[in-house]
Symmetry: C3
Subunit: 312 residues, 3 copies
């Protein structure tokens, strides 16, 4: 099976967008929308700028449900003397190659882990020069596609962005929010949700993101509908989704985990009465440079979103 438009996925993986620094990936997506919307079933309103920071909203027709796909990634900040401080929760692996830019140009170096006698870790960038304080680094892009799988850094959540852009092609009624800061601190989701609630009476959210392969959620099991992670979606809303999913015949699996969070958690903890549910393909090697997703699980993810945006 070929991943349709695999080129697009590779392109958006190459654009750096560590949490707090999403302006470039946002510009890319906006340009892409402007260039392609003429070929889409319905042309969206594009909402961004003042009051939305680096987030971007597309509104198609009369939306009832918004899809949230976060644009930011995990990574590292350069601290004092090339020390590394995590942005979000990257898995620290000795020798990982990190890239970025500072006032002296391109930065490329290796992550090194030092452990002291108390088993405390210090992370250091091995690099031939001192890097500017505060420089943001991310995993070096390295995309692989086999017959069955895609593997790359940042499938979480470039794949969610990619899925959202596939949905855009045929969406008639609905909204897509490309959100920021999901991996660190959470933000922009609340502002966007409030805007959609106040202006379009959108009270339903679907979190278009990548989840984890666990003992209960596996490759080749279809897209995962999450019944809970650290947070619980409202049961009444969840039941509505499960009914539609069951009736659709699309392959899916049910996730029930005790940990983890998403843009849904931000909605849950806000004072917005927005229902949310996380729906996404599972990946292995989470938060490493080798995140891996089964291609047919991506396909079922796109299919299920299409049905839900239509029927929910």
């Amino acid at each position: 099976m070929e991943l349709s438009n695999s080129q697009l996925l590779q392109e958006i993986i190459r654009i750096q967008g560590v949490a707090s620094d999403e302006s470039r990936i946002k510009s890319f997506i906006k340009d892409y929308v402007l260039k392609h919307q003429g070929y889409w079933k319905s042309k969206p309103h594009i909402i961004d700028g003042t009051g939305f920071q680096d987030a971007l909203i597309l509104v198609f027709g009369n939306p009832r449900t918004a899809v949230y796909a976060h644009m930011d990634t995990i990574g590292y900040s350069v601290g004092y003397e090339n020390e590394l401080i995590r942005v979000g929760g990257p898995k620290n692996i000795d020798g990982t190659i990190l890239v970025g830019n500072d006032s002296h140009g391109v930065v490329e170096g290796e992550l090194m882990i030092f452990e002291n006698e108390y088993n405390q870790q210090r992370l250091q960038l091995s690099c031939e020069r001192a890097v500017d304080r505060g420089t943001l680094l991310s995993f070096k892009p390295h995309f692989k596609e086999t017959k069955e799988y895609v593997q790359s850094p940042y499938l979480d959540n470039r794949l969610g962005v990619y899925v959202a852009l596939q949905l855009a092609e045929t969406m008639e009624n609905g909204a897509i929010v490309f959100s920021t800061y999901e991996e660190h601190g959470g933000n922009s989701v609340g502002a966007c949700a409030k805007y959609l609630m106040n202006n379009y009476e959108v009270f339903q959210a679907l979190i278009c993101d990548i989840t984890w392969v666990t003992s209960g959620v596996v490759h080749k099991g279809g897209v995962a509908i999450s019944m809970r992670d650290s947070m619980l979606p409202r049961r009444k809303y969840l039941n509505k989704i499960l009914k539609i999913a069951n009736d659709s015949g699309i392959k899916f699996q049910l996730e029930v985990e005790s940990a983890g969070g998403s843009d849904g958690s931000v909605l849950q903890k806000s004072d917005l009465p927005i229902d949310w549910c996380f729906i996404g393909a599972p990946e292995d090697n989470v938060h490493t440079p080798a995140e891996k997703v089964y291609k047919k699980d991506i396909e079922s993810m796109i299919e299920l979103y299409r049905v839900l945006m239509d029927q929910l």
Copy 2:
């Protein structure tokens, strides 16, 4: 002493409402209000539906203060292969009987605790069949009333709901919010508080919930006014409450704890300028199936709320 309307308390304890799944207890309360409001001193506006999820608001006259009673309870989610994941913070006790419903009908089983060599606990439902993923379970109802005490699962916070419904009978100016998700994640409180602030200029909240017996808060000490838990109410508001309580002659005790939270914490962390204070009877055996409250402490709770809703 007889608890007036003990029947109502038993009824609402029997209705399952694990956090995220409050639709049934909400329906029960709404039906109860519709059936009984004709006998009340003042007939409330009932606010619910879109924009309020499973929460319910009653507005009497010109409210200055809102009483918050959460409808949800702690419990467990069924994970993969009958593993149990906590909803909120139930005390895990081997042999506890849990009940619920899934697609195959009634579920009843026993909580079992397994410990591995690293002292990590795994919780398992002992049950003759596999239960659907994501099924919500709660403690099996078991109500006991003695001369002095009531004992039951979920006095936290069915007792708060019960108290709020007693208050409703004579309330002339005030609001009651039956809130959701207090035990896990927090939500609906913010949306309800914002609604009451924007539409009725309500800036004062009282958190009608059950607290813990500790070294400083005891059975038979009267209702507890909490001067702090993990959060601190605004001192100016607290002082106003203490003045009214002192002048009232009603028996109360002062709580000063370092931990714990409530719907008040949700208000505190929101961007709503709402004052809040937790006021409730203390219970023993917190978050177990045998929560126990001294009946006269419930009586003083109702009395103090009556005075506060009148004078605050």
Copy 3:
């Protein structure tokens, strides 16, 4: 070098304002503004009262940016039998003198630390009498000014308040928010930010607070611009600030830390699309009665804020 208006700094340090109890320091600031605004370049609108709890906002001209200076301090609550419970994160030092007031008058006592066999600490107030439950205590004022340094409890954040009041003298377009609860729980910031956003279209915030001397941020290095603490400001906004700071010629240093938070974190976690950046002089002996700041770093803090309020 003389700290201009050192008298004012000493006065505001003497006024107790433990988080949740900011009404007195707020009244002092309001009185100060009313008394001095006639001599200022521009007379502010004063916004406070219902809907703002104990916070206070000054609006000058057409604001684009708001300065946030929190008025509250760390301290202790008196629990049962003179036990002490922390408000915020004071460093517990045996023998620290704490002061406050209860229904019997002035309270003064010594902090004592008891450790049990499990290395758990219990904090106790050594005092000749039982102190009322819930009484708030703070470090006894003890101000020292040398040729180069000021040293006192609560430079964090009385110094931020002092800086904000210096800025007020010449501010033409901008807002100043004197916020509450920064040290414990966070609040009022969101309500004030929302007010300024809705009424004045203010989307930019500067957090006027005191930071920590660390391996990368030192005394005599100038004011610190924080590129991150536990949270990350939006990069686009940060870059704008760094450009102005670089062009100004004012002495500053760049902070990149993994921990800590501020009123900026509250904005970050809210659903308000407000950009924020922490800018403040560094102090040694953080959260002790002997917080110490280099005087010229305060000067560069005032200077940088003047330039930023003008150019941002």
